[in-house]
Amino acid sequence: MAIGDVLYEAKNISKKYGSVVALDGASFKLHAGEVIGLVGDNGAGKSTLVKILSGAYTPDSGSLFLDGEQRVWTSPREVLDAGVETLYQDSGLAPHLSVSQNVFLGREKVVKGFFGKLGFVAKKQMEHEAHRDLEEVGIAVPASDRSVSQLSGGQRQAVAIGRAVAWARKVIILDEPTNHLGARQASEVLQIVKNAKKKGLGVIFISHTLPHVLEVTDRIIVLRLGKIVKIAPTSEFTGDTLVGTITGTIQTLKLEGD
């Protein structure tokens, strides 16, 4: 993939919960080396869109294309295998497992031979590699064998993001990655996003913290009541116009995203 190619595309995605329309005909394209901000008020449909993109939910209608190929996801596993990583808001890690067990969760390295076939894991190797991968992503890593429940909120978030970036081959979806973080930790996260972009990954950045969105994204998608009301380059927004667009005090003309 080259910088600028369309990586992940959503066409006319809709999803209802009973009679509630959570998402109504959402379409957008994410390019390689691009960071797209996804913003909207609570209930605007951000979480639903994230879950559809990550394979946790199936849309009622519409289609998804990864690398130009139409995909119908039947499980999160398939999406992960296709190179799309998702960091879910607040709940991406299993607190009772160690750092390395979390980094490798669902993709454990097994020992060689018969015992590997039975699923016996190569603990030391995973601890070593988890440490190395997190360091590469730019995260001050706590010891790999520590239980996640013993980490601070910031450290947990760092591990979760590090895991997503380390595994992602195409797209990373980050749902509120700077939530509950101090200023210094938040700027570390934003740096990680910029690094991922440089590597040619496509990033979808969901956040309520609009200064972070304005700082790190190339384009912004604004969702309101399940509809995409505006897609525009980040440079066209100021903090005020972005808030106005989200809340609907600024009238919007829906722009076709390219």
Binding site: P76, L93, H96, G119
Partner: protein
């Protein structure tokens, strides 16, 4: 750190205290200490307590609960509960006895090779019976979305019902070889072949829980189901496997209990599910999921039956056992909460 630097820097008093505190807060160390204290106290109360005969009694009782407790450890770590294991013990014992008597045509008087053949096939039938109950549990929990407490309460009732129907409410006597379940040497060696087999099964179950993917997924589901699913784990399939394992271990226990009695009895598993839950909780697992060790459960079960045997030998009325077990559970849970706050 190399040995050299370790010897050079002497630990300060506070470091030594920290080390002691760390050992003290280690669940299995506490459990071993509790066990030693119990043995000492009971030996003071009744000197005959410290004997191979007592050890044999304790171990034989232990074998009739520890496997379902190990299965329960998996279930509880995954955030669930399995109330059906006591009923599965009764049902699988009854079904195995019925099978050996009516299908294989073996009477309680059978001897020699016939008995071996009958018991091996009976064991397979017992395991399959327990496995079937476990699969029904898995289906009810993952497909019908019934909470584990209710789903396994239902199969508990149904299992006991079937056990009574098949046996007409009376124990079914069948072929047996009591040497398998008896101490190898009552005065020197309290182990039996049956207990050794139980230990082998526990070691395998422990390795899969603590060293293999199967165990990591079990912890992950109990710790954060959403994260487990997001990591691509097939949560439903894994839960079915866990309840199937719990059921199969109950089936195997059904055969163990059959061999103790020489009969499959519909009342042979009564209350065993509560013993198992008690053992798992005493062993340090959390009913909230995500926490627990096979070793803790093994010790928890041993404590349970040491208390039982000790009180009987010390001449205390058996009903006091329930009170002492209740206190042990309360202390174990309080210790957990205390540990969490300490962190």
């Amino acid at each position: 750190m190399t040995n050299n630097t370790q010897t050079q820097s002497k630990p300060s008093a506070s470091q030594r205290w920290q080390k002691l505190a760390a050992i003290g807060s280690n669940q299995s160390t506490i459990l071993v200490a509790v066990l030693v204290i119990l043995v000492v106290v009971f030996t003071i109360l009744e000197p005959k307590f410290l004997s191979a005969q007592t050890a044999s009694n304790v171990l034989t009782d232990w074998g009739s609960v520890v496997l379902i407790a190990v299965g329960m450890t998996y279930v509880i770590i995954s955030g669930g509960i399995d109330l059906s294991v006591g009923a599965s013990i009764a049902l699988s014992g009854v079904v195995a006895a019925w099978f050996m008597v009516n299908v294989l045509g073996l009477s309680p008087k059978a001897t020699g090779g016939e008995v071996v053949y009958g018991l091996v096939l009976g064991t397979i039938v017992a395991i399959l019976t327990g496995l079937a109950v476990g699969l029904v549990n898995g289906f009810l929990i993952t497909k019908a979305k019934i909470p584990p407490f209710i789903a396994t309460l239902a199969t508990m009732g149904a299992g006991l019902g079937f056990a009574v129907i098949i046996s007409s409410g009376m124990p079914i006597g069948g072929p047996n070889d009591f040497t398998v379940i008896s101490a190898m040497n009552p005065s020197t060696n309290p182990l039996s072949w049956a207990v050794l087999a139980v230990i082998v099964v526990i070691v395998i179950a422990g390795l899969f829980l603590h060293k293999a993917k199967f165990g990591i997924y079990t912890y992950a589901i109990g710790s954060n189901t959403f994260a487990a699913r997001g990591a691509g784990i097939n949560v439903e399939r894994h839960l079915v496997a866990i309840y199937a394992l719990s059921g199969a271990l109950a089936g195997l226990t059904g055969m163990y209990v059959y061999m103790r009695l020489g009969a499959g009895s519909p009342s042979s598993g009564t209350g065993r599910e509560l013993d198992a839950i008690a053992a798992v909780v005493i062993g340090g697992a959390s009913l909230m999921g995500g926490i627990g060790r096979v070793w803790g459960t093994v010790l928890g079960t041993l404590i349970l039956f040491t208390v039982q045997s000790g009180l009987i030998m010390a001449g205390v009325a058996p009903d006091w056992k329930k009170v002492v077990v209740a206190i042990l559970i309360a202390v174990a849970v309080a210790a957990q909460t205390f540990n969490k706050k300490g962190r």
